[in-house]
């Protein structure tokens, strides 16, 4: 049996070599499908990996509260997608912060309210600058380091801002300290009290790119924009061991505050790294589906080529049967050919997918994520594609009548 398998493998290899161009193009079909799946999986993996690492860096005493739709149904997700600004519907409010701060075991609470606005200095004006509204506790939870100046304090938070490294450079055309300079947002003047160190991590669990952001107090942001929507509340717990207890208490306090509405999630540990928005889930799901469709198209290519090969080699099948090949031998021969085509395509796609992922990683903060799960998924998928799309042509070849096939002389 092992001998026959080796023979089938060699036969398939010869057949594939004989039709190099055709085989290459067929492989390419599979490769593109596999490459897109690899690309999506590795990028998605890299995102949650980045967040996981960050959470691990910050420490295990972090609790996060996020607004959620009342039920995570498809209708809600679609609704969220079709609404222009999904965060405008946040169910968290500034007074929730106080409620959480009163919970026993909570040492620091900071809201994260992100909006975008035009920021001007006496030199430059930038529109669409991400503005993070928070409070003085933020620095206690998030390990941000400042290059110049200091973070907001209770005394100065009403009229002060902290700039991200890149933003400071862009606004004032200097990498030197800009502490003491003034910026204008919506006609209000604010003084720069601190400039952050370069972080270069635009993907994090706060969902904000600190290098380009302006940080101010949530109350001031509320004043200039009129209304503030909170995307997330970061909480530092007093003790790691009491995390479940504390998060339960927070949940109770918030439910009380909101008169029993459960439109928020309290997360800690690994849960934090789960995609924050359903948008992320739905987009990656859609992309995977598209990639899967392209893999199916590749599979159809394999089937097509195998059918051509079967009818081309009708005579060969007849000769092989006449000299003693059983239908099963013929079936295996053609199935092996389809399998080798798809596995070759899979390997090719794996390389192609990671090459693309590396290419993307050079211009984005992603780093391609390689895991044995992804490799296993690729191998199993290509095997499945090979069998599913190779079995029909192989059965067709095996069912040929040797007498008729022998008459079919090229």
């Amino acid at each position: 049996m092992a001998l026959l398998i080796r023979t089938h493998y060699k036969l398939a290899r010869t057949a594939i070599k004989e039709n190099r161009t055709r085989s290459f193009l067929t492989c390419l079909g599979i490769a593109i499908g596999v490459a897109s799946i690899i690309l999506i999986l590795s990028l998605m993996g890299s995102i949650s990996n980045l967040i996981k690492n960050e959470v691990a860096e910050i420490g295990s005493d972090l609790i996060v509260v996020r607004p959620t739709a009342t039920k995570d149904t498809v209708t809600n997700i679609v609704e969220e997608l079709t609404t222009a600004n999904s965060f405008q519907k946040s169910s968290l409010a500034l007074n929730d912060i106080k409620a959480i701060a009163d919970v026993e075991g909570v040492t620091a609470v900071a809201p994260i309210a992100i909006s975008t606005n035009t920021v001007a200095s006496d030199k430059n004006t930038f529109s669409s600058v991400p503005i993070l509204g928070t409070n003085v506790d933020f620095i206690k939870i998030e390990p941000l380091t400042l290059r110049h100046g200091a973070f907001l304090t209770k005394a100065n938070e009403a009229h002060s801002v902290v700039l991200g490294h890149t933003l400071s450079l862009a606004l004032f055309n200097t990498i030197n300290s800009t502490v003491g300079q003034m910026v204008t947002i919506m006609g209000e003047k604010f003084m720069v009290v601190g400039v952050l160190d370069e972080i270069n991590k635009s993907i994090n669990f706060d969902n904000i790119d600190f290098d380009n952001a302006l940080i101010m107090s949530a109350d001031s942001l509320d004043k200039i924009t009129g209304s503030t929507q909170i995307q997330q509340i970061n909480i530092k717990a007093a003790s790691t061991d009491l995390l479940p207890q504390i998060s339960e208490n927070i949940e109770k306090a918030l439910a009380n505050q909101k008169l029993g509405d459960q439109n928020f999630t309290v997360a800690y540990g690994d849960e934090i790294s789960h995609p924050a928005s359903s948008l992320f889930t739905i987009v990656s799901g859609m992309l995977t589906l598209v990639a899967a469709i392209s893999l199916v198209v590749g599979g159809i290519g394999v089937m097509n080529i195998m059918l051509v090969s079967v009818s081309e080699r009708n005579h060969e099948i007849g000769v092989r049967k006449a000299v003693g090949a059983s239908s099963r031998n013929i079936l295996m021969q053609f199935l092996f050919e389809a399998l080798i085509l798809s596995i070759l395509g899979g390997i090719f796609g794996l390389v192609l997918g990671y090459a693309f992922a590396f290419l993307i990683s050079t211009i984005t903060p992603f780093s391609p994520y390689i895991s044995w799960e992804i490799l296993l998924i690729t191998l199993l998928t290509t095997l499945a594609v090979g069998i599913i799309f190779g079995i029909y042509p192989a059965i067709k070849a095996a069912a040929k009548n040797p007498i008729d096939s022998l008459k079919h002389y090229r």
């Binding site: 026959l4 060699k10 004989e18 090949a325």
Partner: protein, 304 residues
């Protein structure tokens, strides 16, 4: 001599079509074939010769009737078992050679061995020695289209005998060849027959019947005339040797060959010796010398 019966066909019928289109390619066909016979089947087109050959070769099934091969009724066996018997017991030679165009001739010859479980090296070794017998050794890696018709048919015969089958079925093997190539092919078949193989051959050429030990004329799916030219007792018989391992077979056969009694046997012995020679991994010049030598031998034989 009843134990010497190789094939027994009883009431074999093959019907094509139903109702108004019903025709019989074979009709209650009875035939007994002994080991060592060289049978030529003749008859007009459409009398059922090829159908008979296909059924004997287990490529086709009879509509009714019994087919006993080596004492076993094989009329109703599974397709898988049919394939197994084809691989081990039957060699085919076709009118249009039926070589696989994409394979070099050595792999064409080795093809039956693929399905009987030989390793690639031993397959190629056996194919090489079979080709050597037909003086095609130096063309082992030629492709079929690079050979003449006569050479291609010799490759096909090498393929038919490589697995040492008991029966060789030839369907008009000389039909596509000129008279000279026909003669060479027939000489080869004769030599194979003299080693004790059973050959059943379909032909349209009456001049070839001189090679046969039995000539059957068919008409409308039945036997018209059946003439034996050699007594059953004088039929060449296969050398039976008991071996434990397949590898030892050739040496065992070579050792058990008896002293020649007639000219024809002498010739066959000569050719057998050349096949039973162990394959040396000698250098190229050695090999070509060897083939030149055997070429001379064959020329000599043809002059005779």
């Amino acid at each position: 001599m009843s134990e010497n019966i190789l094939i027994e066909l009883k009431g074999l019928t093959k019907r094509y079509g139903y109702g108004d289109t019903e025709t019989f390619a074979l009709k209650d066909f009875d035939l007994t074939i002994k080991r060592g016979e060289f049978i030529m089947i003749m008859g007009p087109s459409g009398c059922g010769k090829t159908t008979l050959l296909d059924i004997i070769g287990l490529l086709d099934r009879a509509t009714r009737g019994e087919y006993i091969l080596n004492g076993e009724n094989v009329a109703g066996i599974s397709a898988r078992r049919q394939a197994k018997l084809r691989a081990k017991k039957i060699g085919f030679v076709f009118q249009n050679f039926n070589l696989i165009e994409d394979l070099p001739i050595i792999e064409n010859v080795a093809l039956p061995l693929v399905y009987t479980g030989y390793t690639k090296t031993s397959r190629l070794k056996q194919a090489s020695s079979a080709l050597k017998r037909f003086h095609l050794q130096e063309r082992e890696y030629y492709y079929p289209y690079q050979l003449s018709g006569g050479q291609q048919q010799r490759v096909a015969i090498a393929r038919a005998i490589v697995g040492s089958p008991e029966i060789i079925l030839a369907d008009e093997p000389t039909g596509n060849l000129d008279s000279r190539s026909s003669h060479i092919v027939m000489e080869e078949l004769k030599a194979i027959h003299e080693e004790g193989n059973t050959i059943i051959m379909v032909t349209h050429n009456p001049s070839l019947t001189v090679y046969a030990t039995r000539v059957i004329n068919m008409l409308d799916g039945q036997i018209d005339t059946d003439v034996k030219t050699v007594a059953d007792a004088n039929l060449p018989q296969p050398i039976s040797v008991k071996i434990k391992r397949r590898k030892e077979r050739k040496a065992a056969i070579a050792a058990s060959i008896e002293l020649p009694t007639s000219d024809s046997v002498k010739e066959s012995k000569e050719s057998q010796e050349s096949t039973s020679e162990p394959i040396k991994n000698s250098d190229q010049s050695d090999q070509t010398k060897d083939t030149k030598h055997s070429k001379k031998k064959s020329k000599h034989r043809r002059k005779k």
